[in-house]
Symmetry: C4
Subunit: 248 residues, 4 copies
């Protein structure tokens, strides 16, 4: 079996496992489960972990060569091995971002907006869950309900930072730092997308005389010169087509 | 009647209805109206709602085809159906942004500055009104006057976030999240506009030898080659004008 | 006398008046002057006001036509007429920004950095002075020393917004809003300048085959075709030089 | 000995001295050393200072001409002369940034990400150490452990600014202002890097007819015209190769 075939087969199972994980995790944290509910949620989360662990092992065994694959999938390994990082597995679902490869202009910006908003929302949701789980146990903490945690996550990722709710535990602060970093990335992506739009608009003047010459124009020019050469009816007979600017 | 004709006819009535709505809403919230004043303000707001609902229904009935129009006007539907979202109707007034289509360079940046400042101010004003209405009822809230609400809105949209005033109700926090998102957009647009200016300046060197070739240059070149072909006085007689780079 | 001549003559006097104003104002606010010191500082500030008022009147009388000049100098009028806005006069000193007109690339970025830092520092200094003057009188305020005011101004313009010091008076908050707006502009300019640098670096690949064709290349090409035409030794004698792409 | 030779010889010693400095300084501040430990850490820091001072003096003596070198190394002088600024010496280690000179596109962005993250982390670490040292002595301060100082530094550089921890001493606030400035630079660099990525993607459409003509295309065109000239078999004999657009 090839690596590509495996990825095709596991595409939907992995998405379903991701959804099962986030639902079980959200349910456990928000409802502050105990007893049977807690056990059930942990079982679901354990099973999704098995799915991801198996996927990691199989992908590693199929990869040729293994070295580069291992180095470029350190994040996957960390998520499988360190329990506390497991919620971040959800961010993997965003690797569909390679869909961006074949679009340009306005369509690209629309996709960046959709995927960016999706990534930001998953990040906010997971951060709110993880912080609530970490902070709830601390007597000094003021993040005690999921509503507060979600509000805190929004205030943090937008870099507004009121300070009405702040994490006090070490693990809560590590989550916060990841979220702030995500916030800077969000600001950066939004600025970049607007910049692309403004630059495109600024370049689109009514009169194109001063604009950059296009490749289409050059090809037409080359055809024109070719035509001239044909008219000259050169007896040499070897057509200069290999010199024609076809590729760049 | 066509869709365009309808939009021309309703242009001014809709702007007047928007203004009537914002004035009535501002008056109701800022003066914390009761009795007759409250009833009057609600009547004005109800009438403007009728205007927008009728406009929505007529536009939907005139649209050909209806499907795409419906999907691209979900925001309009939400504003008509959900009472709490109605203040956001004001943002519609900014769709005049299509005026941006035909400008470029410095003129484009000037317009982006004007419309961006306008949009930010409407957003700040409406957010301050809505948050004040939501928070005033809560005993834990510290946003109790319109001055405080406006100050809070400015502090939030600029992502400064002192935290001296923060919403505590669910609805107040939803407004705040929308405002923070608007703040990131404002930062993005400002960055993008400056970027466009810096890039234009950075490109404008005294010596243009190394700059991108222009379409005008290519056209002149094509004319030159054409001229050459004419001089060759080819008896074939079919002019190569179809090959000339006229469009791209 | 022409408008240009007047501006040349008044260049240094206006800069000196600006410096005298800021020194007198800083001294009055920081030392919290009373008695003779206060009177002296107010006299210096009044004299600089006379200088700016005279300059405004003379420039208006010299302007041809007056209408456009008046409309594009509303800021100058506001500064002369409204006492509270007078400190903002200092920002005028930054109009030397037109020096940016003739530079490009790395030199342009260096100048933007220098002028941007200068503008930000004047804004911070003037905001700290004005806020201190406005807040000192209020019993609820916690901005009571110039050190605190300066710290608050830095925290605000960088959009960090700790909230350890916040203005509580209306005038203090108006200054704060101006400063926050300045902060967003600073972030925008910094982002834009870095973007210009990254884009220039990203474009500077070793192989230029795929880069935009240059105007120099097109001119050389035109000369080449011309040369060809000359060799064809056309008897018609009218050279096709008018078609040559010289200008665009 | 030349300046380049000196820099080659001292490359590793200076990096080792930087590391020794940061380890000794971190150890002294975090462990709040007294007695022998304090003395030992100060000796290590004094020795690294000697290394940097010697390096500065030798580099100045080797520089030709001295004037420009002196003016472009004022930061080095300040770090050697002012004790309090010494921790900033660590930032010098980032001058390896000149490695960025020969890369472009995705590789450039990857390097900017790596060096930017490195610079941000050194800045955060040094700021946390310096602020802790400055604030620990003040009775009003709430930054009393290294964990709090590190958390404060992250909250500040991302411009989130909760305000749960804020410096109250003058020196602590100066460090904070430097860190905030660094934060704006970080946001700017992140925005710029994303902008470069978005713009590259937006330009990479499937159909290149409308894209800028490339230099490769122009060269091929020039060769085509040349070929035409050769076919015309001009007896004049002087080939027009000097007119060919080879360089620009």
């Amino acid at each position: 079996m090839t690596s590509e075939r495996w990825q095709q087969i596991t595409y939907w199972p992995l998405i379903i496992a991701s959804l099962a994980f986030i639902i079980a995790y959200s349910w456990q944290v928000i409802a502050d489960l105990g007893g049977t509910g807690y056990t059930l949620a942990r079982i679901v989360m354990f099973l999704t972990w098995v799915v991801f662990a198996v996927d990691y092992v199989v992908q590693l065994s199929l990869a040729r060569p293994k070295g580069p694959w291992f180095r470029s999938h350190l994040f996957d390994l960390a998520v499988v091995v360190i329990p506390a990082l497991r919620p971040l597995r959800l961010l993997k679902a965003l690797t569909v971002i390679h869909v961006l490869q074949r679009t340009a202009g306005a369509a690209l910006r629309a996709r960046i907006a959709v995927y960016g908003a999706g990534a930001a929302f998953i990040l906010i949701w997971v951060a709110a869950l993880t912080v609530l789980e970490a902070e709830r146990a601390s007597p000094d903490s003021n993040i005690t309900t999921f509503g507060d945690a979600l509000w805190w996550a929004f205030v943090t990722i937008t870099t507004v930072g009121y300070g009405d709710y702040t994490p006090v535990t070490t693990w809560g602060r590590i989550i916060a730092v990841l979220l702030m970093t995500g916030g800077i990335a969000v600001v950066g992506v939004v600025s970049a997308t607007f910049a692309s739009w403004v630059l495109e608009k600024a370049a689109a003047g009514a009169d194109d005389t001063g604009e950059a010459a296009t490749r289409g124009q050059i090809r037409a020019l080359a055809a024109q010169i070719d035509d001239l050469a044909v008219r000259l009816g050169q007896p040499g007979g070897d057509p200069p087509s290999s010199d024609r600017p076809s590729t760049p």
